[in-house]
């Protein structure tokens, strides 16, 4: 337990990241895997497009805005991390 889990650490983290990205990015596997009470946002968004157009557009705009915020935040954070690495070197 003390050896296997640390050795598998990177694989577990990579799996976590891939699962999180899939659960945000697409709805087919999420729709298959998730139960009715634990549907992710894209699954509900897909079903909203069968209803009112404005409602679905608003929900999609929220998702796009969050993706934009995440991209900008990731870019700023990576820039800060690179500056810290350069200062430490």
């Amino acid at each position: 337990m003390h050896i296997v889990l640390p050795a598998l650490r990177h694989s577990i983290l990579a799996g976590l990241i891939i699962v999180a990205a899939l659960s945000i990015g697409e709805f087919q596997f999420s729709n298959l895997v998730a139960g009715f009470l634990n549907r992710t946002y894209p699954v509900v968004l897909l079903q909203a497009f069968y209803g009112a157009t404005g409602f679905a557009c608003a929900a999609t705009v929220i998702l796009l805005a969050l993706a934009l915020v995440a991209a900008v935040g990731g870019a700023l954070t990576s820039g800060g991390a690179m500056r810290m690495k350069a200062a430490a070197a």
Partner: protein, 253 residues
Amino acid sequence: MQTAHHRGSAGEDRRRDASRAKFNPSERSVTTEPANGCDSHSIPDRTRCGSDAVPIPRLLDRCVLRWVTAAYLVYLVVPIALLLVGSFGELWLNTLLPTGSTTQWYADVATDPSFRRAFAASLAVVAITCTACAGDRACRSPTRVFHTESRAPACARARALSIAGRAAAAGAGLRLHPRVLVGHAAVARQHLAARRRPRRPHPAVLPAGGSGRHAASGPARRSRTPRSRWAATAGSGSCTSCCRRCAIRSSPA
């Protein structure tokens, strides 16, 4: 069988000869170009100067490709713009653009219970993943977040919460655990603050003069960086009162 085999081998030979003849000019240009340069007259004009060998007119290169790029960007941006227009439009029925403007759709999304639940589920997935990664990253460099006062690395708590986060993500499905999330957020904030803080030795060893360095202030080559500016003023006092790590590493220089 033999004739067929012979025929096949002859066909292969012909194909190989043809391919060799096809690739011959390029091979010759590759082998002779570094020796003679672009101005050599022994090389045919068609293969002389790198990109000029490609028979693409400059008109196609500059104008048409620019227009194709612009059209593709429009093709990418127009759906997003239509989403924005449609989300603020009141009624979109058999018209090119919606009529009227309202923010009612956003209010509907914010109050819809299924959307709120789905948003919380997606946010929980991302939060658990991020905190697990942050805890693992902090655990890889335990010396950076060493607490001299509590004599215990802060990494232990992060490791425990990281394992809890992985277990929550793997075993408990998407059920929300507010206490785990709050604990993750608190430990992540603590780690970020500890990484930004300059490494400062214990106050008990500061005023003692001398040229020694505190063990917690890092290696000697980092003394010029602002992060370890406390190392320049740190004395060589015995720091057994500080922590066990200092007592082990500090030498009476």
